[in-house]
Subunit: 383 residues, 4 copies
């Protein structure tokens, strides 16, 4: 499966193309739109979220709502277009790069003095395409009972220690949350922090946790370094703008602990098969799914655009100036969870298709069942 | 640039092939061997490290020690071979998977009951190939004054808060360290922890920090998610066996902080050009190098093989048994640093070649100089 | 550079996305539309060509007609849409596969009994996306004076032996041709053959020749088999529906000749530098451009859809039936030339960017000039 | 599956690494060595063929002759080594490029004046690695009764019109041939041509035909241009040094014919299922295998190195000189067949694994059988 995204923040639209997506998968546009809506929601969002109401248009790859096996192209129109894109615009040049953005490094890379030519593509608006792609992958994975959910673990210093039981609980609890949170009490403190930061014209980051439930053991591979499931998920999570850290299972906590108290011992009963009493490794051993829930956490830095702007320099005049102030969010932690789910879904589907083939859902299901039987036989042999 | 590694832990040899490596780069075998030696060193290593004395043999891609532009193939013979590999062996079947290893998930994936067929490739011995590849990339990067170094930040609960000035300091201080450490005091505590764990037949993990110094701004890209430098480095670091977490710059700490106090403001003086007073972002903004030192941290879980083995199950009999006890390290944190440097070097070179072409060192240098001039002009224009 | 195409023959639209296309390239939509028009033209086309009037819409990657370095997404609406695509359609099932099409093999591959689900994507309508992509690449290559043109060599038994001097001659002569031909006399016979076949409800193929002029020596590589310029061009030409043969330079004629009379001897004069008196190799030696004109020929089989349909079988009933008769062309040889040019342009640009970098046109030009100087020095040294 | 080859003509050895090759495939080294022997054989070979006796050494990926799923690395030592490779050599500089070789274009590309640095890798000796890789793929494909064979169709003006019945006939007839020929009479004329050319210090090319028998319908895809089976095979065949033309089925002959007389009508009987009476398309329709024998022809130019050397120029002095005379073959057409089979095997296996998964032979067989059942059901339904 190959994915390309296209589109600028204030251009015509955002676009995603998925090539190599199997035939025979029923896709719901409504589901994609709900995911897009989740991406726009959450306390702490700025004005644009009010302007936007993203609707996907699937322009290829489907017949009667079922995939054909051909590339799936999706468009989401930008409602907030400043007559950008291919027509001639007369937008003023932006020459003061914002710290923590792509602005300055991009200006060097592309020999650019108008930072607008950088920020149009580096904008997090591009994640709309990822959410579309992820929403399509989730619907594929759903056929194998693979469920992906996320929740906010912390915002600034407000954090939750509550652990959910499963993705069903995550979904039901986050559904009514304004911050993709499963912990009402912690949520209140988080919201308070965001309100405070809003007043201060400051911005905040946070931590999200992603769960992937129901993945059969043996997806991913230790045979070559770039095929490891943990590495692939880390790659895609780290590619989300503002994500600066990623961990699987105990993650950084592992570094402080001992082997005897962290490794997940293996147990077996004929009724239950092989199982673990712990899941410190977060569902991945040797670069493969091990059958337990896969758990990742990603750390987001505070939103880069500040309404109380930082020191910067005018690239044309060389004079010290305050950075451009663009409309901005105070916190996008709720959106971050949705995007992280999307990127996880893409990573998982890639390696899932590597194992089970890629042509039609029916065929993949047959291959999956046939493999599942060998997995179960391995258990049954032991009695 | 493409890299493939091959080889089993007790097979003939470990092999790395680099395709797309530029012509005209002088390569020192001695340097590769030193890196291999660094990989074997450190307090806490097991018996195999005494057996092994890895020497690279470069079998293609060179003439008179200078690269030809053709694929570079490297071999490192395994001294500890158990007549494995293509000849018929009579090794007893291993049927009790070790928790935290690839053993169980691999047994499912490959419908395998002899776990030896899994662990031979999933073994960290494979990282020998990565160190060879990384050592070759480091020598290329050296032509552009890009320097990569690492140090141990923590082992279990013993950690160092000392921050080095630059890679020169890291190298000079770690050279005389038994644990790739820049902090003698912390090192003593770390070693004490390892000795204690050795006595307890336990194992430990830790945190390493990797510095990449001298990289010009504009390497990596925000134009597509899989071209981001931070994502690529995270991908490759996370692909190292036992690594469970990766962070760039402030990393997870970012999640707790505010935008105004973390984003690295931009300053300028005609003499110095653009500069920062802080480097919280760890040298990467918008998925590109920004000219500051690139800093990553990776968290390693405790060594998976334990001499006080964990509960497991015999895959043939279904009976509960203790996991196989293979010869093992107590801590491999010093090696981890070397491997992390290697993977970082590969990631950086890939994206560096994307920007500057890939045919000959002379040509790449000319392209680099020509780009450097545009970077400097951007600064000069501002006066 | 990565390219994905999407879209079904009677879906919403055809789509192409180019990722990794350099910044700073001025693009003309008009030029793309002219190329699309060329693709629709030529004697022997069926009814659809009258219906269609393809217009490209560039929805991303541009600002004020200049590329931003971000992915370029292009759409061409299908005017002949049968309410296909994501809405519910009630089109009758097509169950008699057409020989020489993807229909039958596709029905097997995708476990499909309605052949419409195959032919919508396997249709040559998809080449609209390739022509868009190719037209964009041609505009990039134009900055380096690389010119690509094609002409029809034969239609059925009518063939031309006229050899053009250069691409300028090809363009000027084919411009006024109804069959992309440079030889008026041969053209008349070709057209006569097509008219005759039309009466007979038969179809014809032919041979096209593609010229790539102005490519600097050293693009492509012998260092790995998949980087050879000849192989890459053959790959992309052979991927055009209906193309069944590809040759470079003398091609199959080489097999009949002797080395002494075919290899292109090397000559030198201080004024002219290195040159050849012959170009039997068609501009490629050792998988690289050698500085001479690159010449490929591609053989097209007769159009697969026949108005006098062939024997086939109903996939539902198992009964022998005549194949479906869809509206069709008698000959599409003129279109074939345009598509072949497009695929050649894509192949050349891919390997060109590998050599010269890919970020901005300015940077690539500087790198190109710097390389050109070494090429010229090599000549100058010899005096 | 990914393949990298490495090695110079007079370096230590030639190397091939296959990554992503399935577990559980029994591999015979003897078979690989036989293929290597076939590559060295044939009337018209030069002195080196007498020196060489290539033996493969599989250094990873196997246990007890069965693949582990890990990368397979293979080495073939060069017996004719001129103390090249990583040690210091004192070989005289070669500065007169040979026409029709990579020499001149390579000298430009790599800013090189010693042509030896080009020809060591561009040498056809590299195809040793391809034959090793191909021999391994053939053994995999053999598990699915996919058989690949080749024969010489023509040498210069001597050609055979004999058509074999199947690959069994090809193999049995070519086994005793000195020229990989299935036609004793034509062979005699071919050999006579070669002997004559030897006397004349000239060289010859020819045409080989490759048959792939037993491939199930539906391998390859029309969903994206780079996934077409015909395109992939053409890519890999054209990447063989000296190959200048490739055609599938009727190939260039198609261009002269009419649709009604060339397209392969579809027939069906309950006993036989779907079948064709003709195979003009050479087993591929819509970029997929259609169940018939896949037939490709490749045209080889005369050997580039001539003992009666062509005009060239000394790159150092600028003086006209005759090209370097290296030891050489007069014809390598028999070897060409073996290499073409190898490249075809690699192409087929790549797309075969895309359809059926890639982890273990057992799993792939189960997936294959499950797909085969759907193929047969499609037939059975029709009665």
């Amino acid at each position: 499966m190959r994915i390309l995204t296209a589109g600028e923040s204030h251009g015509e639209c955002i676009c995603a193309v998925l090539e190599g997506f199997p035939k025979g998968v029923k896709l719901s546009e409504d589901f994609i739109n709900e995911e897009l809506k989740r991406r726009m929601s959450g306390v702490g969002r700025g004005r644009r979220m009010a302007i936007e109401e993203d609707k996907v248009e699937i322009i290829s790859g489907l017949r009667n709502k079922v995939t054909l096996g051909s590339p799936i192209a999706m468009l989401v129109k930008n409602r907030d277009r400043k007559i950008f894109s291919q027509k001639k615009d007369n937008l003023a040049s932006l020459s003061v790069p914002r710290p923590s953005h792509a602005d300055l490094a991009g200006a060097f890379k592309y020999q650019e003095s108008d930072v607008r030519n950088i920020l149009e593509r580096s904008s997090a608006r591009e994640t709309v395409a990822r959410v579309c792609a992820g929403a399509v992958c989730k619907q594929f994975l759903n056929n194998f009972n693979i469920r992906i959910a996320s929740f906010t673990v912390s915002v600034a210093k407000a954090s939750s220690t509550r652990k959910p039981k499963d993705t069903a609980e995550i979904r039901s609890k986050t559904k009514s949350s304004k911050l993709n949170c499963i912990d009402r009490e912690a949520e209140r403190t988080m919201i308070a922090q965001i309100r405070k930061a809003e007043c201060d014209k400051d911005s905040l980051g946070g931590i999200v946790e992603v769960w992937i439930e129901g993945l059969i053991p043996g997806v991913g591979s230790f045979m070559h370094f770039d095929k490891r499931l943990d590495a692939r998920i880390a790659y895609y999570l780290m590619s989300i703008p503002a994500i600066k850290g990623v961990e699987n299972g105990l993650g950084f906590e592992y570094a402080k602990r001992k082997g005897t108290s962290t490794h997940d011992a293996i147990f077996y009963t004929p009724g239950r098969g092989v199982y673990r009493k712990t899941n410190n490794c977060g569902g991945i051993e040797g670069g493969m799914s091990n059958g337990e829930v896969i758990i990742f956490r990603a750390a987001m830095k505070p939103i880069a655009t500040l309404r109380k702007p930082l020191d910067s320099v005018n690239l044309t005049s060389g004079k010290a100036e305050k950075a451009i102030v663009e409309r901005s969010d105070t916190s996008a932690i709720a959106a971050c969870g949705v995007i992280a789910e999307s990127m996880a879904a893409i990573a998982v589907q890639e390696l899932f298709l590597d194992k089970f083939g890629q042509d039609t859902l029916g065929e993949i299901k047959a291959n999956y069942q046939s493999y599942l039987k060998t997995v179960k036989q391995k258990l049954k042999r032991r009695k």
